[in-house]
Amino acid sequence: MPNLKSPLQVSGGPEQRRFLGDVDAMAGVHVEACYQCGKCSGGCPLSFAMDYQPRQIMRLIQMGLADEALASSTIWVCATCFTCTSRCPRDVDIAGVMDVLRVMARRRGIRPGDRNVGVFHRAFLSSIRRFGRSYELGLMIGYKLGTLRLTEDLPLGVRMLAKGKLAIFPAVAKGRKEVAAIFDEAEKGVAADAVKPAGAAGKGGSNQ
């Protein structure tokens, strides 16, 4: 961890600082340690497709600009490749912060800044919840219906079916009830967080 005896001054009022504190607590990092060197953005393979560079997302968090960060396309275009995390000289787990921002966006009901990616995650998780394992064909159908991108990749899908790479029927884990219980427990946790006072989410609470 970097030396935080004299952290960067964080602008904004208590509301802004609360957002920074929540991100820090949930991700187990110190976003305020970021000194904007831009190494994360230089190495990011997907920065060309983002509305804010990873470096700018860190700055938005420092400034408490939650709405801008949570509605960005960046957090959904990020492929969690961890190049940024591995290279950060200030030991900020930037990819971990992206995960936290996606979780926060979902909890606050903010529409994903990239619609298709959001639909994909929902379709994927609903297949795991039902079967315990991923059911690719069902996932693809769910995704296609959710995005109305019905013909994209049809030839690829047909080829994969022909090569035996897509099962027609789902594989089912015997313990799928146990897997469903894990999903239920995850939702209970979200509900419990929601009734806590703002700023107390995650371990460690806020930095106020």
Partner: protein, 294 residues
């Protein structure tokens, strides 16, 4: 683990039972040839990559924890060939120390115990394990002489280094060493650990075509005739999107994308069909015939 039979708890994950069947086939065939027994974790579930950890932190932890807990019940080290599964399993082990409350909630919801202590191996750690590597070296029957291969590691085997503790995060060499063992010629190239886009291959095809183009063109530019991978998502993106990537660059690529275990199996004298060669999109057999390796 006894001295006579080496055993691992085997976690294929969803991809190896569907889109990456040839990876499953070739991992098992190579293990058999090396005298290693892979015992499939009986009721494994999806690790959740790459959706669970972006949706809920506890869910991202608990899905891989359930599979790990079953591996612990078997009393064996766990081998996970899919790099995405491996990344999630390693992350869950790390999170268990950071979030004791996650462990408590998982144990209550699942009725299982989870110590987060069992080692988890990726396929390259498996192939180079102290007792496995010599067995493979001794079993090489048909060295892949003259085959120039770029080893592509992608992201999750090497990153984040604090979680995977595997090789060098910027310039890994272990797959290159494996290729040398089987007589192939590893080709160094600068995109070894660049990201292929992973599950964006479904939701943002346009982006993955660009990423695949960068990686394949770098491999080809370095003189590689083929690419070796150790991850189903890397394989699907570099192979399945290669034609579109070539069109985008107005180039012809035609680089077969093999699972590293398919190449090892070939060198061990196994039949191409037993290794699932022929299931990939870019032709995998033409190059091997041309080099008189199949």
């Amino acid at each position: 683990m006894t001295a006579e039979t080496m055993q691992y708890a085997y976690y294929p994950g969803c991809s190896l039972h569907s889109t990456a069947r040839e990876y499953d086939l070739s991992v098992k065939a190579v293990a058999r040839a090396a005298g290693v027994e892979l015992l499939e974790i009986p009721d494994w579930n999806c690790c959740g990559a790459s959706s669970a950890h972006v949706t809920d932190p506890f869910l991202g932890f608990a899905l891989p924890a359930r599979t790990l807990a079953q591996g612990e019940e078997m009393g064996l080290d766990i081998m996970a060939p899919c790099a995405a599964c491996y990344g999630r399993l390693m992350a869950a082990k790390e999170e268990a120390h950071r979030h004791p409350d996650f462990v408590r909630r998982f144990e209550a919801a699942s009725g299982r115990r989870f110590s987060a202590k069992r080692p988890v191996l990726n396929v390259l750690e498996f192939l180079t394990a102290e007792k496995v590597a010599p067995a493979i070296g001794a079993a090489v029957k048909r060295p892949l002489s003259g085959l120039k291969v770029a080893s592509y590691y992608g992201c999750l085997l090497v990153r984040p280094p604090k979680v995977t503790h595997f090789d060098d995060a910027e310039r890994p060499v272990i797959m290159d060493r494996v290729l040398e063992t089987i007589g192939a010629t590893p080709v160094d190239f600068p995109f070894k650990t660049e990201c292929c886009g992973a599950s964006l291959g479904i939701s943002r095809v346009d982006l993955v075509i660009e990423l695949a183009a960068r990686i394949v063109e770098a491999a080809k530019g370095a003189g590689a005739e083929a690419i070796a991978v150790a991850c189903p998502l890397c394989q699907t993106n570099l192979d399945g999107r290669q034609a579109a990537a070539a069109t985008k660059r107005r180039e012809t690529f035609g680089l077969p994308v093999y699972y590293v275990t398919q190449l090892v199996g070939l060198a061990l004298g196994l039949r191409p069909a037993a290794l699932g060669l022929g299931r990939q999109t870019v032709d995998t057999m033409g190059l091997l015939r041309q080099k008189k390796l199949a």
